[in-house]
């Protein structure tokens, strides 16, 4: 037992005990505790195992800079990995476990890594597991090394997202942030002040320090009262600024329910904020540096500032016999506060030859032994620190006198303070090395934001407050630190002195990297893993750079820092996804008659974002049975199909015809009003982009049909050409796809059905020719009707305003009932178009298909004008004689199964796989012909009609013959009716 709770003080409620579980055992803390403070108060010292060597580790920090005490919170679906215990607020029933111990903390099988440490240096994995391939070893190594387990089940929590546009955003709730908020708010600006934790006042919370003549607690309370009364100020606790992005965007994670017992939670767990502010003030404070010496990772070695925070916030004294080792004044105050709270401070060890006499006097007054010009050479103890060996230290960190042991169970350390520059740096702010502070500080004049207080390298209270109020100050640096990057009892950095606790990187590892010439700080990071992962070098970065700087004899500023990456602390993926999960990710569109289809037992599938019936299953039918029945019904009688998703774009204006001539391979301007033309469109690089039927309604008004699901893309492409290239053309483009629902009536008996409708349209062969369009009324509903066919049968597409779809459908079903009309789905339609050899863009074509590959060479040659993609289709690659072309394929073996889509085409007689000559693009069983049919893209296929080929798919061979694409009614006689 080491840490203990004081009888009085701290921001905790002793009348409200809280029970929780850690590693399966029960503990009790108080309201106001964090997981870290409660376990510290319970005397728990070892709280984790290190990442690589599985060394026992203890708590060292009081904030998100904690590199050791990383936990897996709760179990099952709502488990959260990699939370820093000082940031986990205690709630009743909390259940947490360490992330890096298997099977348990005390008995860790992987601690054997620690014994073999000298065989596992930096980059050991890269060097050792190269044969036969890294992938063989990776799963095993990851199991041993990983940080926490990601949940295997769907996250049961919900997350909110919101945006804010305000005048001033202030990040950090210490005295700098509070004063800056007050100053900005007085002028009437809208102000948002956020702090990551539960407390206001930062490091001064709970202390007896004086701020502007008041005790800190009173100053903070007064300030909060003032700010709360101002309607233009938003005060947000438990809200962490996680990232700072281009043009000043700041992301915030607001934790709404994480501090409440799980069974009492309701509503969203966290809220993601995107905030843009005219002014951004970073008051994020500073992070204390550990001292780098042998065994500095033993449980019981802690940052001095952290011990002070636990004392003031939670009334916890972290140890019974305390030694303080420091390079600067701040740790002395931690020692004084602890001593005054009744703790036993055995000694203060200061690396400076002559610390301030005032400090020494006060220490001696409290009965504390002072050792100046000394440093800790090693922490002694295996599971926890028992003593520290101290000795005289040179300015470079060499222990140059025999060391003496001092007994202690808590060793507090301070190597100086690093401004928390992460947000500054993410926002493209530059850093400069400050030789008084021995740390990197934000460079002045970074655009868009400024850093104040500790974040700006300003540790004096009066100047911090002045800066927060935008008063001119000359920065007064704190008393000089001794720059001491690592301490060693030999001439080389100590291989057991830890720099990066989270990633298990020692001073010796950095020396190894430098020796092997990984001298750029970014290379050093990758080679040793220094400053990686969720820690992002919070405690380790500057020490690591300092050691490299010493080894290379280069100044710190010449080494520089690595890039700080967001998020500042891990956030759940659910927070980033917000409501865009499940059906919210991409809304699925429904047909006009969705419910009618569902009532006919339609098997729904998604096609290009639309939910459409694949087939209508009758009792006892499989989908294949249904498709066969539907195809035969359409071929012999009549069927009805909802084609509403068919893309419909209106193109109108005096230059509409000339514009469409530029957009299509086909000539559009020669089309007469009332007539339709099948046409294809290319992208400017010559590849086939889309196809469809273009109808000329009047001279200057066209209706452009596109592939289902492609209308928005085509509309966008048209507008881009009109706005950016042919800017003087007078053309309007409007996507009307969802304004018009479409019923497609198909089959030889179609006219018998349509003749029964109350309509002013004459559907007879003489009055309504194939590839023409008419407008009229059906049962009083305005309709656009086109006689076009994607099946090879007589076919009318009837478009009516979307809201009238039900009435039209009802009339058609009533008319069709006496003619055996059946509804058919997408699969039957696709089967019939394969029988006809009709191209399906995106299935038969890909990003390399040129018009000449799909039989449009002649049309292209005939057209004299330019159009989009024409020139590109005639690049040398387009002129190659061995291009693949679009053909049919019939199976000639006795196998009735359709050829596999994607199967490769090889010359007859091939027995071994060899470079493919093409592949199957579409394939189906044809109920009409009673045979499997396929379409394919095959090298020189057009010239190889009748040739036998072999078809290879996943090791299986089939025999087939190349045919023309169209296998059903090649003369088109069935349309000539």
């Amino acid at each position: 037992m080491s840490g203990y709770r004081l009888k009085r003080g701290g921001d905790i409620d002793r009348s409200c005990p809280i029970n929780f579980r850690w590693e399966g055992r029960c503990y009790t803390g108080f309201a106001g505790d964090t997981l870290a403070s409660a376990l510290l108060a319970s005397g728990v010292r070892m709280i984790g195992r290190s990442f690589k060597y599985h060394r026992p580790r203890g708590l060292i920090a009081a904030g998100l800079d904690e590199p050791n005490f990383i936990v897996q919170l709760e179990r099952g679906a709502s488990t959260t990995p990699n939370l820093k215990a000082p940031y986990v607020e205690l709630y009743d029933g909390l259940d947490a476990a360490p992330v890096n111990a298997w099977p348990s903390l005390r008995f860790d099988l992987l601690a054997v890594n620690s014994i073999f440490k000298r065989f596992i240096p930096a980059a050991f994995y890269y060097k050792t597991f190269m044969w036969p391939t890294w992938r063989v070893f990776e799963p095993l190594i990851r199991k041993a090394a990983g940080l926490g387990a990601s949940p295997k089940l769907t996250d049961p929590d919900s997350y909110e997202q919101t945006s804010a546009h305000i005048d001033v955003l202030i990040v950090g709730g210490g005295i700098a942030g509070l004063a800056a908020a007050q100053h900005a708010a007085i002028s009437g600006k809208s102000v948002m002040l956020v702090t990551g934790g539960r407390h206001w006042g930062g490091r001064l919370a709970g202390t007896s320090d004086s701020v502007e003549g008041k005790p800190a607690a009173v100053w903070i309370k007064d300030m909060l009262r003032t700010l709360s009364a101002m309607p233009n100020v938003a005060l947000m606790t438990r809200t962490l600024a996680t990232g700072h992005f281009d043009h000043g965007l700041v992301s915030l994670c607001e934790r709404l329910t994480d501090h409440i017992p799980t069974h009492e939670r309701s509503g969203p767990r966290q809220r993601f904020w995107r905030v843009r502010a005219d002014a951004l003030i970073l008051a994020t404070g500073a992070i204390e540096r550990p001292l780098v010496f042998r065994g500095n990772d033993r449980p019981g070695v802690m940052l001095a500032g952290a011990a002070r925070a636990y004392l003031h916030r939670h009334a916890v004294v972290a140890g019974r016999e305390i030694v303080v080792a420091t390079t600067n004044d701040s740790a002395w105050y931690a020692a004084f506060d602890l001593a005054e709270a009744g703790a036993t401070i055995i000694a203060i060890v200061d690396t400076r030859p002559s610390p301030s006499p005032a400090l020494v006097e006060r220490a001696e007054g409290l009965g504390i032994m002072v050792h100046s010009n000394m440093a800790p050479a090693a922490a002694i103890g295996r599971r926890a620190v028992r003593a520290v060996r101290i000795g005289r230290v040179s300015p470079t960190g060499r222990i140059d006198s025999p060391a003496q042991a001092v007994r202690c169970d808590l060793l507090l350390m301070s190597g100086g303070w690093n401004p928390a520059v992460h947000l500054h740096s993410q926002g493209a702010g530059r850093l400069t090395f400050d030789h008084d502070l021995n740390s990197f500080v934000p460079e002045d004049g970074s655009p868009g934001h400024r850093s104040i207080g500790g974040a700006g390298g300003d540790f004096a209270r009066y100047s911090t407050l002045a800066a927060a109020r935008e008063q001119a100050v000359t920065r007064r640096p704190g008393p000089p630190h001794a720059a001491l990057w690592s301490i060693s009892e030999s001439d080389v950095p100590d291989a057991e002195a830890w720099v990066d606790f989270q990633n298990d990187v020692t001073a010796g590892d950095i020396a190894l990297a430098a020796r092997e010439n990984f001298r750029s700080v970014e290379h050093l990071k990758r080679y040793t893993t220094l400053g990686m992962a969720s820690d992002q070098g919070k405690t380790s970065n500057v020490n690591g750079i300092g050691i490299l700087s010493t080894l290379l004899a280069k100044p710190m500023e010449a080494i520089g820092t690595t890039k700080f990456r967001p998020p500042y602390d891990p956030i759940p993926f659910g927070l980033l996804a917000g409501h865009r999960i499940g059906d919210g990710l991409r809304p699925r569109r429904q047909l006009a008659l969705h419910d009618w289809h569902a009532g006919r037992n339609a098997s729904y599938e998604e096609y290009g974002g639309w939910m459409r019936p694949a087939a209508y299953l009758r009792p006892g039918e499989s989908e294949a049975d249904a498709v066969r029945r539907e195809v035969l019904a359409v071929r012999t009688a009549v069927g009805i199909f909802e084609a509403s998703p068919l893309g419909k774009i209106e193109v109108k204006g005096p230059d509409a015809a000339a514009f469409l001539d530029l957009m299509y391979v086909n000539r559009i301007s020669t089309l007469k009003p009332g007539r339709c033309r099948y046409a294809i469109m290319l992208s400017e690089n010559g590849t086939v982009f889309d196809d469809g039927v273009v109808t000329r309604l009047t001279d200057d008004h066209f209706l452009v049909g596109t592939t289902s699901g492609h209308a928005a893309t085509i509309t966008e492409a048209f507008r881009e050409w009109l706005q950016c290239e042919w800017t003087t053309m007078r053309v309007l483009v409007e996507d009307v796809t969802t304004s018009w629902a479409v019923a497609n009536v198909v089959g030889p008996k179609t006219r018998s059905v349509l003749h029964m409708l109350a309509s002013d349209i004459d559907f007879s062969a003489d009055a309504f020719a194939h590839m023409t369009a008419q407008r009229g009324y059906i049962g009083g509903i305005p309709a656009r009707v086109a006689r076009v066919s994607f099946t090879g049968e007589l076919s009318y597409e009837i478009a009516v305003p979307w809201r009238c779809a039900g009435a039209l459908w009802e009339a058609l079903i009533a008319a069709g009932s006496s003619h055996g009309m059946v509804p058919f789905g997408v699969e039957a339609l696709m089967t019939m178009r394969i029988e006809k050899g009709f191209l399906h863009i995106g299935a038969d074509t890909d990003g390399t298909t040129l018009p000449q590959d799909i039989g449009f060479g002649a049309i292209m040659a005939k057209k004299t004008q330019d159009f989009v993609g024409r020139r590109s289709a005639h690049r040398p690659d387009g002129l190659r004689g061995d291009r693949r072309s679009f053909v049919g394929l019939e199976a000639t073996d006795s196998n009735a199964a359709p050829l596999a889509i994607g199967a490769h085409i090889l010359p007859a007689g091939t027995t071994q796989p060899q470079p493919s000559e093409g592949w199957v693009t579409s394939s189906a069983w044809s109920p009409t012909l009673g045979a499997p049919l396929a379409l394919a893209m095959i090298e020189r296929g057009e010239k190889r009609i009748g040739e036998s080929v072999r078809v290879w798919d996943l090791g299986a061979w089939r025999e087939a013959r190349i045919t023309r694409a169209c296998r059903y009614d090649p003369q088109g006689a069935r349309l000539d009716v």
Partner: protein, 95 residues
């Protein structure tokens, strides 16, 4: 995330827009008479400058307007916003 000032709608988040790449890209007046190298240059080759770049952007989830932006691709500073047919503005010295 960039904050882009649509000439029609005002400042909106980058996620409402689509970048259409370098601008202007002049389409050869007579494509059929353009040789392969010149055509490839038009189709594929872009300056991709580090620093001052001219691009066209589309307010896709907004008014649908295409317009030009002069942007520093290193700092992401937007130096000018101008119409699609307007000439490139001459950057001020030091901008």
């Amino acid at each position: 995330m960039l904050l882009i000032e649509c000439p029609w709608c005002g400042p909106r988040a980058e996620s409402e827009y689509r970048c259409g790449g370098e601008s202007p890209i002049v389409r050869p007046a007579d494509p059929a008479a353009t040789d392969d190298a010149a055509w490839a240059d038009y189709l594929f080759y872009r300056d991709n400058a580090k620093g001052l770049s001219f691009e066209r952007w589309h307010h896709r989830f907004g008014c649908g307007l295409w317009f030009n932006i002069a942007r520093d691709t290193a700092s992401h500073r937007i130096l000018a916003i101008f119409g699609i047919t307007d000439p490139r503005p001459v950057p001020e010295p030091g901008a």
